[in-house]
């Protein structure tokens, strides 16, 4: 609840004060006050309004002490318990944090800090950078927003599609980091996946005529529906092909499919929608073997048309192996060695195909290369098992 309320409050105060640091500081102080008082005196009837009032008083005190903000006093004083309820404020905040004039890494950090409400320490941990370094990155970005005149506004309809791209990318990155961490001891971080889902829901809810946020929300929700089957009883990774489909969350899947249909009705396909459709097809298949592979290949062709990246071609090759056999797929994959030579899934996919062709030694070498390229403990464990147990998985 604090995240929801704090995000709204920060958004409202940033709009009025034009100052990230001050807004965040006031909200943090209000939350601290709440944590101190509520356990003693009970949670107020309308906690959000209480927080806003408290943050407002603190902001007013500060503003009165600091001449720079004098002209803001009236605006803050006029704030009532209902201000900040408009999703507009938070939307404006997201678009400001993800402004293309800011460094992409700073966009992610700033969104997690200002919109999601993670602490600097939490963000630094999630992305394995030192806290002072992250604080500097955030400080520089916040300073640039004010000093360079980055506007605090929602983009106009004609620029929305372009401005949405970095925003969706930030949400997708947060999701990916939660789905498979790239650093740190935890293999997965459900909290980051939930943060990403929350952000995607906020975007989809605020921009109902934009199909890609719906696609991204559906994509995250589908992966979330399979979450409990991704690890076995010993905490080891279970691949999609081997997951217990009876335990997938059918309610979440149905909700996500509904989102994909709503997005499709808008008639503007995009990479997140297609990726969601691919994931939905997996989620609706009774088993790995009974998956509708011809339709899957069609979706990958569509995805490659809107996102012609080597990673998409790599995943398409996996589907191709189901339809035309591992030799045809291996030829496709080998052609990607240039751009993907440093990508662990390139090597583990090759290994899988080589095993299918009975080339166990080559497969083990490819898995060894994959192992050297990933820091994720779950993937490392899976690959290490394959490397040490000849023939495993074939």
């Amino acid at each position: 609840m604090f995240r929801e309320e704090a995000g709204r409050l920060t958004a409202t105060l940033v709009r009025l004060l034009g100052d990230f640091d001050l807004a965040e500081e006031m909200v943090s102080e209000a939350v601290v006050e709440a944590l101190r008082r509520w356990p003693e005196r009970g949670v107020p009837d309308r906690p959000g309004a209480w927080l806003l009032t408290t943050a407002r008083h603190k902001a007013l005190d500060r503003i009165r002490r600091d001449g720079r903000y004098r002209h803001k006093v009236e605006q803050v004083a006029a704030l009532t318990g209902t201000a900040g309820r408009q999703p507009d404020d938070r939307l404006r905040l997201i678009f400001t944090c993800c402004h293309p004039a800011l460094d992409p890494d700073a966009q992610v950090a700033l969104t997690l800090r200002a919109v999601v409400g993670l602490t600097t320490a939490e963000i630094a941990r999630a992305f394995m950078v030192s806290e002072p370094a992250l604080a500097r990155r955030l400080g520089r970005a916040k300073h640039k927003i004010v000093a360079a005149g980055i506007p605090y506004r929602t983009p106009e309809p004609e620029e929305m599609a372009e401005r949405l791209q970095p925003v969706l990318r930030v949400v997708y990155l947060v999701f990916n980091e939660g789905f498979f961490t790239t650093t740190g001891p935890a293999g997965t971080r459900r909290d980051l996946v939930d943060d990403a889902e929350w952000l995607a829901a906020l975007l989809a809810g605020s921009l109902p005529d934009q199909p890609e946020p719906l696609g991204l929300l559906a994509l995250i929700r589908l992966h979330r529906a399979r979450w409990d089957t991704r690890l076995d009883g010993q905490g080891r990774l279970v691949l999609l092909a081997d997951q217990d489909r009876a335990r997938w969350d059918r309610g979440r899947i149905a909700s996500a499919v509904g989102l994909i249909e709503r997005a499709a009705a808008l008639g503007r396909p995009g990479p997140y929608q297609v990726e969601a459709a691919i994931t939905a097809l997996h989620c609706e298949a009774p088993s790995w073997d009974a998956t509708d592979w011809p339709q899957m290949l069609g979706l990958y062709d569509l995805l490659a048309a809107v996102d012609p990246s080597p990673v998409v071609r790599l995943n398409r090759a996996v589907v191709l192996s189901r339809l035309e056999g591992p030799a045809a797929a291996l030829a496709e994959v080998d052609a990607l060695a240039g751009p993907l030579g440093r990508y662990h899934l390139f090597h583990s996919t090759r290994a899988e195909l080589l095993r299918g062709l009975g080339r166990a030694d080559d497969a083990r070498r490819a898995d060894q290369q994959a192992l050297a390229l990933t820091a994720n403990p779950l993937e490392r464990q899976l690959l290490a098992d394959r490397v040490t147990v000849p023939g495993a998985g074939s």
Binding site: H99, A101, A147, A148, G149, I150, P151
Partner: protein, 113 residues
């Protein structure tokens, strides 16, 4: 807000034929005229060839001269414009509309005292 747009000399200016350069200047001229007329551009100048630049180095009371521009030839500044627009988005949109085939535009806010 006031911004300074620093315009680099693109390949069209460094290596283009006289005719090519003339064609680009035929586009640039009306662009400046339009935004001067509506008050967006406060002032602007085209700079002479980088080879005509002299750099003065000041150092605690002394000074020396260097017979070249500040920046490497690849990024040489070809001109600048001081513009008055509401925010960075407006300044970036203006920079994006600068009608040259290639080049860079640095957009930097002016510090207003």
């Amino acid at each position: 807000m006031k911004y300074v747009l620093l315009l680099t000399r693109g390949a069209w200016q460094e290596n283009g034929s006289d005719r090519e350069r003339a064609e680009v200047f035929d586009q640039i001229g009306p662009w400046f005229a339009k935004y001067r007329a509506d008050g967006t551009i406060v002032e602007a100048e085209q700079l002479g060839e980088p080879g005509t630049a002299t750099t003065v180095v000041l150092d605690r009371g002394g000074s020396t001269l260097i017979d070249r521009p500040l920046l490497e030839a690849k990024e040489a500044i070809g001109g600048y414009a001081v513009v008055e627009v509401p925010d960075l988005d407006a300044a970036l949109a203006l920079a994006r509309s600068f009608p040259v085939p290639d080049g860079k535009v640095e957009v930097r806010p002016a510090v207003e005292h």
